[in-house]
């Protein structure tokens, strides 16, 4: 084997080992690398409730109530489970019903006390007219796919297009 062949084999095996090692580490750390949990995860794993955490989902349609002193109450849903959220402060511009949202805070007696609300938008970009046309023709999917739990339990809920 010539020297450059030996170097090639060395670099190639080194990289292969490195990539496998990284894949193993990342899959072991899967749980801690998520930015937010879904309301269903919160319902299934009660141990999550003790810590400060982030919950992501859609702002449930018809759930937003504005109280006195800039307090907002709404429900975050992944179309299976929902968590009531209470927040006091400025909401991002994209915050609206049916919109993706990530809230940070802690759970208190079943109510999520948020101290930060971030808007999460999806990967679809289009002019307003196209969005209107899609809504009219009933082909509107919006953010539901993002927050539905990887299609495993997508029942009839994915069919209805409320917004």
């Amino acid at each position: 084997m010539k020297r450059k062949h030996r170097r090639f084999v060395f670099v190639a095996t080194g990289l292969a080992i490195l990539f496998v090692a990284a894949a193993l580490i990342l899959s072991a750390m899967k749980e801690s690398l998520v930015f937010f949990h879904s309301p269903t995860e919160l319902a299934e794993k009660p141990e999550l409730a003790d810590k400060r955490l982030r919950i992501g989902g859609l702002v449930e349609t018809g759930s937003v109530e504005r109280g006195a002193d800039a307090e907002v109450r709404f429900r975050v849903t992944d179309l299976e489970n929902a968590v009531p959220v209470r927040f006091k402060g400025l909401l991002p511009d994209l915050f609206r019903e049916g919109q993706g949202v990530v809230v940070e805070g802690h759970l208190q007696d079943g109510v999520f006390m948020a101290d930060e609300v971030l808007a999460k938008h999806d990967e679809n970009y289009m002019p307003p007219e196209v969005a209107d046309a899609l809504k009219k023709s009933g082909k509107w999917e919006h953010m539901k796919k993002t927050f539905e739990r990887s299609g495993e339990q997508s029942g009839e809920q994915s069919q209805d297009s409320k917004y």
């Binding site: 990284a22 307003p128 969005a131």
Partner: protein
């Protein structure tokens, strides 16, 4: 590839290619900016802020593209000892770092009005920040040795190890929950972006790519010339002339 490993041939080729890339950059950038600012519509959700995309997304693509180029050049330099490959890797690093910085800054400026925050430590944003530090580390290590050959070898190994980060950046939005949304353009079921917005984006991406090629030609040429000057000085100092 053997053919272009010869610096003289490379100089001849890039003497013609450089101005071509420069012209393409100016043309594509002019068209891209015009379409992005005046022809493309506002987004149904984000309104006019969506126009940040026409800088942010190409910059982020180039951050990855430059790193891939740098890794390939570094590997070729490491394995086959091609002198031009080492220089190409060295010349790419600051350009890639600049694109990464641009992607981070425009992303931050976009995140504040849309998400409601300048920065979050989600998997996508964090892995791109790591990419930026990899570029900086590469540049520092490359210039940390008196002997440029040793600097090239050490930094090439760093670049290769850092390549692990590339799939993490690309798939971070699919593997984990992130605040950053998944890919709109490079995905299996076709772009999720309206053609009226996709075209300006692709024009800008073309402009950014041509700019990189142009700057790469200039930088490698000046590196080759600097090497020649160094060799001449050495000869003079030793009285070999």
């Amino acid at each position: 590839m053997q053919y272009f490993a010869n610096p003289t041939r490379f100089m001849k080729l890039t003497q013609r290619l450089g101005p071509l890339f420069a012209a393409a950059t100016v043309l594509l950038f002019g068209l891209g900016v015009y379409f992005a600012l005046f022809f493309s519509p506002a987004d149904y959700q984000q309104g006019e802020s969506v126009r940040i995309m026409y800088v942010h997304v190409p910059a982020a693509w180039m951050a990855l593209f430059c790193y891939i180029s740098m890794v390939i050049a570094a590997a070729v330099g490491l394995i086959w000892k091609h002198p031009v490959a080492d220089l190409a890797a060295k010349a790419t690093a600051p350009v890639g770092a600049a694109f990464t910085f641009l992607a981070l800054v425009t992303g931050s400026l976009w995140g504040k009005p849309m998400w409601g925050t300048w920065w979050v430590w989600d998997a996508r944003l964090t892995s791109v920040l790591v990419l930026f530090f990899l570029y900086l580390g590469y540049i520092a290590l490359n210039s940390a040795f008196d002997d440029p050959t040793r600097g090239a070898r050490a930094s090439a190994i760093l670049a290769l190890v850092g390549a692990v980060n590339l799939p993490i950046i690309k798939f971070s939005v699919d593997w984990w929950n992130t605040l950053h949304q998944p890919s709109s353009v490079v995905r299996l079921d076709g772009p999720a972006i309206h053609p009226s917005m996709l075209w300006p984006l692709l024009l800008m991406a073309g402009a950014f790519t041509c700019y990189y090629m142009w700057v790469l030609c200039l930088r490698v040429r000046s590196e080759i010339i600097a090497h020649k000057v160094r060799a001449l000085r050495l000869r003079q100092a030793h009285g070999w002339e």
